[in-house]
């Protein structure tokens, strides 16, 4: 299974065919991503507003305004908390879940498929489900908390400045951890049983087996998940927007929400673009850095 295809990039008899095949995808991506990227960079250097009436070149003044804007850095901080919070929580829950469903039990094939139920449903349904469960007047969660005397007053989870962020992180994690668990499970199953048996004979306990066998064997999978997961989650917009619209008072305003608000609520297309470009640069640096520090993970591992 570990067959490795060597990457070749010189001319040979497959070249023409390869170029023909990649052309549609390439064209698609250039039109839909490269052009908008260039266009965004251009907009971030002008004074264009939402109405598109004015458009004069203003150099980097939008960037200067942004990096001196407290709200921008607050949003950056929120994005950090959001991304790290999601990564940790999802990894822990995903790993635990994978270990649980890796056992032999009745109905395992059913569980191993339907566990990703929370990932299949549209975001809007996710938002309705949790807004209803967490509702401060009629929500079932508050009822249960009060029933068991955990709290005296109902808690307004999505309306509290302190709780809103942890709550949206929890909801997003609920959506994604089963998806992660499935992938981790698949990786777990590729670890040869003999290794565990040998370790048992040497007297290793479960924890040692996990540290010395499971974890190292899982590392390639985890590092791919780490990268894609981070990129995906930092760019998430819809979940946050549908649950809190970045509020209350900016408590959940991550960079994507900030960009959206700047563009569509404050009509500052130029500043929205500048913020998005900064995020883009930041992520690019992150990717390069990730390739550098993660030894089991090379760029060619990812795409080639």
């Amino acid at each position: 299974m570990q067959l490795k295809i060597k990457i070749k990039s010189g001319w040979n008899n497959t070249s023409l065919f390869g170029i023909v095949l990649i052309a549609p995808l390439l064209l698609w991506i250039v039109v839909m991503i490269v052009y908008p990227l260039i266009s965004s960079i251009w907009m971030s250097l002008t004074d264009v507003d939402f109405l598109g009436i004015n458009s004069n070149f203003v150099g980097i003044s939008n960037y200067i305004e942004l990096i001196t804007d407290v709200e921008f850095w607050t949003a950056m901080g929120k994005s950090m908390i959001w991304t790290i919070g999601n990564a940790l929580l999802q990894l822990i829950l995903g790993f635990t879940t994978a270990l649980i469903i890796n056992q032999q039990f009745k109905g395992k094939s059913f569980v191993r498929i339907w566990i990703i139920l929370s990932w299949i449903i549209p975001t809007i349904v996710l938002a309705i489900i949790w807004r209803w469960i967490l509702n401060s007047s009629f929500g079932i969660l508050n009822y249960i908390l009060q029933l068991f005397n955990f709290v005296e007053q109902p808690i307004d989870f999505l309306g509290s400045f302190q709780l809103a962020m942890p709550t949206v992180i929890f909801i997003n994690t609920w959506r994604w951890f089963p998806f992660l668990a499935i992938i981790i499970l698949a990786a777990l199953q590729t670890i040869p049983v003999e290794q565990y048996n040998a370790a048992s004979i040497d007297g290793a306990n479960s924890f040692q087996k996990f540290i010395y066998i499971t974890f190292p064997m899982m590392r390639p999978t985890l590092s791919v998940l780490g990268l894609i997961g981070t990129l995906w989650s930092i760019n998430i917009f819809d979940v946050i927007y549908m649950l809190t619209r970045g509020g209350p008072a900016g408590a959940t305003e991550t960079i994507p929400v900030f960009v959206y608000q700047k563009a569509f609520q404050e009509y500052a297309m130029n500043k929205a673009s500048a913020a998005a470009v900064i995020l883009f640069l930041f992520l690019s640096v992150f990717v390069v850095f990730y390739f550098k520090i993660e030894p089991t993970f090379r760029e060619d591992n990812f795409l080639n």
């Binding site: 109405l51 307004d156 309306g159 400045f161 509020g247 209350p248 008072a249 569509f264 404050e266 009509y267």
Partner: protein
């Protein structure tokens, strides 16, 4: 039998072809409005259907827009040349959309309708600037203080003597609470409702001027601070969840008896009996309370219609439709979308049988009359000087007042700090 069937089929086909030929000439008029609740859409559709039936050469079609993305969608549609012919609006919304150049002056049509139906001046004033009229007023909405007479009686308060001043309001709330009733619910959400509620109190507190006469922001002043201090007190008495309130929550809380007082517009009338389970005589309304040195008043919104087409055939169709819509008969029926919420902006409708004969309006006649009376004290941010400050759209579109309330309530800033923050935000917005 078979023969009959095929003849019918051919006939059907012919009818289809002929009607296509006839209706192919139809002028289509698209209307975008923001009256989302299904029952409002339904009544509007009935009004439209009647028009379409009598005017086979015109086809009017309504589409619903959410205020939350109205700016974005409208501007997008204009840029993509997909704008509707008629777009519903509020005065501050018009100031923004007008900058796209797509909004057409309606002076002539307004004059024509005015001759026939006699518009109330206050309703058109916020649309009249830069030498033209930019929208035809449709209906007005006014903020009132709604209260539950039954809950007042339970707490030993006089149901027919609601609080008039801020001091009285606070003592009333406290007395209600002593009797186990949550006195009031005011919103603290990032929402238009909060914008409107705080502004009603700002008017009452005498700090309705966001701009001075030179168009500079004068939001940060002692009177605004006093209003926010008072508002914070009301927030402290409000139930959980107000940081997420939109239009529906206060009404629900009011009708199920969670709160005894709410500050809202006239949509409280029609579902009251059914949802609260008590008789309609228990619904009380009064002007928004004001401090001793303040003034009577609350936020008054004249809604309107902008016209975004220059096509002659479409303009003629629009003209025909509006002439129909403002006939008192039709107008009255149209307002029954939400009886009590929509207040007439023409004297013709105001004095018409069809408006007052609506069962809900008839039942709550005195309340409706009080709302119409309060409208004369109504004000709207940005429209308080002789000239309209067109920057208001940028402030209203971002709900900066609501954001300021959130800074105070959610983040825990002091009123002074929050207002300073709001003033900066406003200055930033109009830069």
């Amino acid at each position: 039998m078979k023969k009959v069937g095929s003849i019918l089929l051919v006939m059907g086909f012919l009818v289809g072809v002929v009607s296509f030929a006839v209706f192919g000439q139809q002028v289509e008029i698209k209307i975008w409005h923001m009256e989302q609740p299904p029952h409002r859409v339904k009544v509007f559709q009935e009004v439209i259907d009647q028009f379409n039936q009598n005017n086979p050469d015109i086809f009017v079609k309504q589409q619903v827009l959410d205020w939350m993305n109205a700016y974005q969608k409208t501007i997008a549609a204009i840029q993509a040349r997909q704008a509707p012919e008629i777009l519903f609006t509020l005065p501050d919304f018009t100031t923004v959309i007008k900058q796209t150049g797509a909004v057409q002056p309606v002076d002539e049509l307004f004059m024509e309708l005015d001759q026939k139906y006699d518009f109330i001046e206050a309703a058109v004033k916020p649309y009249a600037y830069d030498g033209h009229i930019w929208a035809i007023p449709t209906y007005g909405m006014i903020h009132m203080m709604w209260y539950r007479k039954d809950l007042f009686a339970q707490a030993g308060l006089d149901p027919d003597n609601p609080p008039r001043t801020w001091e009285q309001l606070l003592t009333t709330i406290e007395q209600l609470e002593e009797n186990g009733i949550t006195g009031i619910g005011v919103p603290a959400s990032y929402h238009m409702y909060t914008d409107q509620a705080i502004y009603s109190f700002m008017i009452a507190g005498g700090s309705h001027q966001i701009f001075n006469e030179n168009g500079e922001i004068v939001f940060d002043n002692p009177k605004t601070v006093r209003t926010f201090e008072f508002y914070q007190q009301l927030v402290d008495h409000s139930p959980q969840g107000i940081t997420g309130w939109s239009w529906a929550e206060p009404q629900l809380a009011f009708n199920n008896g969670t709160i005894a007082i709410a500050i809202e517009k006239g949509q409280f009338l029609s579902p009251f009996e059914e949802e609260s389970g008590v008789d309609g005589s228990n619904l009380g309304v009064a002007p928004v309370p004001y401090p001793a040195d303040g003034q009577r008043g609350s936020i008054y919104y004249p809604n309107g219609m902008m016209i975004l087409t220059t096509d002659q055939a479409k303009l003629a169709a629009v003209k025909k439709f509006l002439n129909y819509l403002y006939e008192p008969e039709v107008n009255g029926k149209w307002f029954s979308m939400e009886p009590g919420l929509f207040l007439p902006v023409t004297n013709a409708t105001l004095n018409s049988e069809s408006f007052w004969s609506n069962p809900i309006v008839a039942q709550y006649q005195d309340l409706v009359k009080l709302m119409i009376e309060q409208s004369e004290y109504g004000r709207l941010f940005g429209f308080n000087h002789q000239s309209v400050n067109q920057n208001i759209g940028k402030i209203a579109g971002q709900y900066i007042l609501a954001q300021t309330v959130q800074e105070m309530v959610v983040k825990g800033l002091s009123p002074e700090e929050a207002i300073k923050w709001g003033e900066e935000k406003m200055k930033e917005a109009i830069k």
